[in-house]
């Protein structure tokens, strides 16, 4: 979006100085700093096209809504609670951070901090323990965004005396009554979140934005791996890059594949092997080049090329 300067059709000053009669969306867009957040999102997050599109739409909606409120057309705070569904390692937490920043810049949350919790932080261990614990977390998140990771663990239908239900009731109450104070983002795997919403219809109706995170493609994961390495001042050599592509293709079909998180773990192990190799092979002073290059050998040694973890391989063989 580009700046569209107002020319000779400058609006006459409104009767109420605090209630403008026209609104310049482009200027509001520039002024709120939303552009920086969206640009940062584009620059730092690879892929995720549908997620970015949804965030763009949400930002536009909120900007228009803010303008409407300034003009006295809307009075209600829009429901901002969201659910992020997607496989592990698809960037849900990172996007939640950006979302908190975005909402802060648009003035929908006052502080813009992100409080990340899981079931353990909300649900107590004995009777009477849950309510204070949940309220404590909610208070901490006020003025910001509460991110509940793997939210479906809150609801355990198999145990009817589970305290999760109590946490859910308090959450729902605060989500409804303190809509100005905090935004709740529920995150988790798509299938299990759907079941969670089915059994807790209160949640589904209170959440306006459902955003799905797709898996990364092989190309995107390769790009991500290069960015991750670059951030730590490492780089692949030519052979290593091709090996990494093979690695991603092989890893995807093995159990416990967690998209970008698997890549990060693989790179951590490659750095370990690189350090070990340098230690064993180096016969003189090493330059920065040697210290910061991951070679094919560092990646080839991975168990992924030998069919995964020993335990998983045995299980598969037993199944066959």
């Amino acid at each position: 979006m580009t700046e569209t300067p107002q020319t000779d059709t400058e609006p006459a000053p409104a009767e109420h100085p605090e209630r403008p009669s026209t609104v310049d969306l482009a200027a509001a867009f520039e002024g709120s700093g939303v552009r920086e957040v969206l640009a940062e999102l584009d620059a730092t997050m690879i892929g995720l096209a549908p997620v970015k599109a949804r965030i763009r739409e949400t930002a536009a909606l909120l900007l228009v809504d803010k303008a409407r409120r300034q003009m006295g057309l809307a009075t209600e705070t829009p429901t901002l609670h969201m659910s992020f569904t997607g496989n592990p390692g698809t960037g849900k937490t990172t996007v939640a951070l950006k979302m908190a920043d975005l909402l802060h810049r648009l003035g929908y949350v006052r502080k813009g901090h992100l409080v990340t919790v899981t079931r353990d932080d909300l649900v107590g261990q004995y009777i009477g323990h849950t309510a204070p614990k949940t309220k404590e977390v909610l208070k901490k998140a006020m003025g910001g965004v509460l991110f509940i990771d793997e939210a479906y663990y809150l609801y355990r239908p198999e145990n009817e005396r589970d305290y999760g239900q109590e946490a859910i009731e308090i959450l729902l109450q605060v989500m409804e009554n303190n809509r100005d104070d905090l935004v709740v983002i529920l995150a988790g795997y798509a299938g299990r979140m759907d079941r969670f919403f089915e059994s807790n219809p209160g949640f589904r109706s209170r959440i306006a934005h459902h955003i799905e995170f797709p898996d990364y493609s092989d190309d995107e994961l390769l790009q991500i791996s290069q960015i991750m390495l670059g951030a730590q001042n490492y780089a692949f050599d030519e052979g290593a890059r091709a090996t990494m592509a093979d690695y991603i293709a092989a890893r995807r079909h093995q159990p416990h594949f967690a998209n970008a998180r698997s890549i990060r773990n693989a790179l951590d192990r490659a750095r370990l092997r690189q350090a070990n190799r340098l230690f064993n092979e180096a016969k003189g002073p090493l330059g920065t080049e040697a210290l910061s290059t991951i070679t094919e050998a560092d990646l080839r040694a991975s168990r992924v090329f030998r069919g995964g973890l020993d335990a998983d391989r045995r299980m598969r063989q037993a199944a066959e």
Binding site: K111, K139, K140, M142, G143
Partner: protein
């Protein structure tokens, strides 16, 4: 008789928005805000009952207003105050304190005279409210 203790006590009762603004000021200064209540309004009654823990890691005053309202539900007929504790070296003390809730009717204080040796008289004050046992005042 309207109790005048702490900040803003000569102003009309603070609204929730006022409480929010004051608490946010304290939070932005890095002070831990907490809510307390009592049914003994004597000015030298320093330690009121704590309503929950001091909120050390809350960044937004909405939590304070929330707790004040929770406290009002439970102890609506008593005095409720919001205090801000500054833990930085050299202070380690309360920096702000203001009343956020009070009973509908405040009977005030009476002067108590105690006759001492000779013709000396010692004076003190006592709230009419504390003549009833604790928990049954301001009913």
């Amino acid at each position: 008789m309207r109790l005048r203790q702490g900040q803003f006590s000569f102003l009309p009762d603070l609204t929730d928005d006022d409480i929010h603004a004051q608490a946010q000021y304290a939070i932005d200064k890095g002070w831990a805000v907490s809510v307390e209540y009592t049914d003994d309004p004597h000015p030298r009654n320093t330690y009121w009952e704590m309503w929950g823990h001091p909120m050390f890691d809350n960044r937004d005053a909405a939590a304070v207003v929330f707790e004040v309202n929770e406290c009002r539900k439970e102890h609506g007929g008593k005095y409720i105050r919001v205090i801000a504790f500054d833990s930085s070296a050299g202070w380690e003390s309360i920096r702000m304190s203001f009343i956020a809730g009070r009973p509908a009717e405040e009977p005030g204080f009476r002067v108590v005279r105690q006759e001492g040796e000779g013709r000396s008289i010692r004076y003190t004050i006592e709230s009419y409210a504390v003549r009833a046992p604790e928990g049954r005042r301001y009913a």
